[in-house]
């Protein structure tokens, strides 16, 4: 093991009440030379204010193009044990539920093959294992995928389908309007090939939230945002409403006045909702979940195009299918995804996300390609400029 170096700057980050990642690296460093050298290299980064990881590096396991991210130190002579320090993404179970046996198995294997450091979890949702050498990748994967109980597969990286993720769902949350955990598991399995073999212009992400509270931030962080919703009336338990008020709950200030569409009223005894004007924002249900429940005609709104800034700036998902019933085997959704990906794959430039392609070629082309009718729910307002296209068949051709 490389001799333990002093880390005065990092030691500062062990002070204070919040749990310290430095303490975590030190814990791992007690048994792991690579965690020890990570600490040394990070201390140097803190001194000279720059990272010390080399750019790029292709590594992987047999049969896969993604799931492992190569990482090499740019100062291996100083820190030989992090000369290679690759990341492995493991596909997490839906909703990030675990039994301890599954987690302990990962810990044992990561003790054997890796640095002992992890992220629970990465931003896309995977169980992320930080730091191993190239020669350990295949043996680790051979073992983790052959575990007798709860074997794990790799997640996505590169220009492929990134590991889908979803919220806590119906296993723990009363707001789940679709079966997010089942849908996430089903889609992940259905599209294994897209997930493991990068062949697209760029990444494509799916995130699934059970209700419009969007706990997995799907609208901002995924090309395909699936959010549970309902079409019929909010269910009111008037007795329970009165109980809230009797307990001193400020129904006027905290619920009625905060309704974005002003579709609610309270006469001191009865709560009335003008459901035709409700936009299902969830606020009243969030505030009074004992008394109010979403309706029974449940499904999801599908939004498309969400992404972070690279390349053309940050985008939020746009409503593309205002309502879709989502029940196994989710055929309609899968057909839509296949059509959208095919159009993007055919037309997209390298590193162009589907939202950027839609902006470049026009929403009308996308809608036609996937066979969707335009509806007012797709826009905040119709266009304000008079420059618009016609299809050839809509005008008289000479």
């Amino acid at each position: 093991m490389t001799e333990a170096k002093k880390t005065p700057l990092l030691d500062e980050l062990e002070k204070g009440p919040w749990p310290s990642f430095v303490t975590e690296i030190k814990k791992a460093a007690a048994n792991s030379p690579s965690a020890q050298d990570l600490l040394g290299q990070l201390e140097l980064s803190y001194e000279d204010k720059r990272g010390h990881w080399k750019h790029g590096g292709l590594v992987g396991v047999m049969g896969y193009g993604g799931g492992v991210i190569g990482r090499y130190s740019d100062i291996p002579e100083q820190f030989p044990n992090v000369e290679m320090f690759h990341t492995i993404r493991l596909n997490q179970p839906s909703g990030w539920y675990y039994n301890t046996k599954a987690l302990r198995q990962i810990c044992d294997l990561w003790e054997k093959y890796g640095s002992g450091l992890t992220n629970l979890h990465g931003s896309t949702g995977d169980l992320v294992l930080l730091g191993t050498r190239t020669e350990n990748l295949q043996p680790f994967f051979d073992e983790v995928s052959n575990l007798e109980e709860h074997p794990f597969d790799l997640g996505g990286s590169g220009s492929n389908l990134r590991t889908p993720s979803c919220c806590a769902g119906p296993a723990r949350c009363e707001f789940a309007l679709i079966d997010t955990t089942d849908l996430c598991h089903d889609l992940t399995n259905e599209f294994q090939d897209y997930l493991h073999r990068p062949m697209w212009p760029y990444k494509s992400k799916i995130k699934i939230s059970g209700c419009p509270n969007d706990c997995v931030a799907s609208i901002a962080r995924s090309d395909f945002s699936i959010q549970g919703t309902w079409r019929d009336d909010i269910k009111i338990d008037q007795e329970a409403v009165r109980a809230y008020v009797a307990e001193g709950f400020d129904i006027q200030g905290l619920v009625i006045d905060k309704c974005p569409t002003k579709c609610m009223s309270w006469d001191g005894n009865e709560l009335t909702i003008d459901n035709a004007n409700c936009t299902r924002c969830m606020h009243c249900i969030n505030k009074m979940c004992k008394a109010l429940r979403p309706g029974d005609d449940r499904g999801a709104t599908i939004l498309i195009g969400g992404k972070a800034p690279i390349l053309q700036g940050a985008m939020m998902g746009w409503v593309i299918i205002p309502f879709m019933k989502l029940e196994p085997p989710y055929t309609e959704l899968k057909e839509f995804l296949e059509k959208a990906w095919e159009w993007w794959d055919e037309n997209g430039k390298t590193r162009e996300r589907i939202g950027e392609l839609i902006l470049r070629l026009g929403m009308r082309n996308f809608l036609r390609a996937v066979g969707l009718e335009p509806v007012p729910q797709m826009v905040n307002a119709p266009r304000a400029n008079p420059f618009f296209f016609w299809w050839p068949e809509e005008t008289v051709q000479d």
Partner: protein
């Protein structure tokens, strides 16, 4: 050694659920926050599931995982989960186990909180710990900010929930762009070109195409490229495509702060965070300027917002011009957009405030 089994997919979530979740799947009726960090979900069957939410540094060792597994074995029948913001959630089906679990967590200095009107874990990226393109560290800033805002994790005294996120460069692996407060590492100088090696390591057409502002053009003489400096906005996309255009610049890389974004559709809809502070120095190990700025924003909002008003709702009510006045932050030319769709942010009415 057996051969790897490929394309087996993730472990089945149903095998990871405590019996109470399986029995009450889709039957949960309502939930309450009993106290900061402790939720109870009540089923139509009358069953009650307690959730104890704990803070995590996200970058955790296997020793930490084994430690929380020990707690889950002792108090939760061997089950736990993680949230989308990387908190640990202990799923407790026996009410009697809640207090002993809280006591053990306290003894281990694992904080409990992050529910209701509070700050939860700060979603963040890898920074200097493990990323190859960062403008700043991630975990170090997050640790420093959370130490300072600790009381807002363990209590629910804020006007509404507050979501802070950090991304160490504009790639935004942390997708911070819709957060109440976003901390974002930025570069501020044009990449330095290594003409010697560029053609050996990079595809020039891919590289020129990677620039959102068309600042990059081929230089056939050198078998390399040129960068038109006055067009470069330092996004770093070219560096991601090609290591021979080095954008990392320790003297100039810095931190910016963004405010007023949100995700949820609750009340006002999702919206992007907007630039509040274009530059703060990169000062490890504790980033005092960043910590001070975030704390200031939290406290100004907390002092001025109405009950239930998130940062975005508060700003929408008072206006951006008042936001800059109340926070005392200088408004600069950096705050006026000059990228794609900039004009959508220009004011087209005489209705404004002094």
């Amino acid at each position: 050694m057996a051969q790897a089994r490929t394309d087996i997919g993730p472990p089945l979530y149903k095998d990871m659920l405590p019996p109470i979740c399986k029995e009450n799947y889709g039957k949960w009726r309502y939930h309450e926050i009993i106290k900061p960090g402790v939720l109870v979900h009540v089923s139509e069957t009358g069953a009650k599931l307690y959730t104890v939410r704990a803070g995590s540094p996200r970058l955790v060792s296997i020793q930490f995982i084994r430690e929380i597994c020990d707690l889950a074995d002792k108090y939760c029948g061997g089950y736990l989960r993680f949230t989308s913001r990387h908190n640990v959630e202990f799923l407790v089906s026996e009410e009697a186990n809640v207090e002993p679990l809280l006591a053990e967590l306290a003894a281990k200095k694992i904080p409990v909180g992050g529910t209701g009107n509070s700050i939860t874990n700060i979603v963040h990226t890898q920074g200097w710990v493990h990323c190859h393109t960062p403008a700043t560290d991630a975990s170090g800033i997050v640790k420093s900010v959370m130490d300072e805002l600790f009381e807002y994790f363990t209590t629910m005294k804020l006007p509404a929930k507050l979501r802070i996120a950090l991304a160490c460069c504009l790639n935004m692996c942390g997708a911070v762009h819709c957060s109440d407060i976003a901390i974002l590492g930025i570069h501020r100088t044009v990449p330095k070109i290594d003409h010697e090696n560029l053609h050996k390591m990079c595809e020039i057409p891919t590289l020129t195409a990677s620039c959102p502002t068309a600042a990059i053009r081929p230089n056939p003489k050198l078998k390399s490229i040129d960068i038109k400096a006055d067009r470069c906005m330092y996004c770093g996309n070219c560096y991601t495509m090609c290591p021979s255009v080095q954008i990392i610049d320790p003297k100039n890389d810095a931190v910016s702060i963004w405010v007023g974004g949100k995700i949820s559709n609750s009340r006002i809809g999702p919206r992007f965070s907007r630039l509040a502070i274009p530059f703060l120095p990169n000062n490890p190990p504790r980033w005092p300027e960043v910590v001070e700025a975030v704390k200031h924003l939290v406290e100004v909002w907390a002092a001025n917002a109405q009950p239930g008003e998130r940062m975005a709702e508060w700003i929408e009510r008072i206006s951006w011009e008042k936001f800059f006045e109340i926070t005392g932050l200088p408004f600069t030319d950096k705050h006026i957009d000059d990228f794609t769709l900039a004009q959508t942010t220009f004011r087209c009415t005489t209705q404004f405030k002094w």
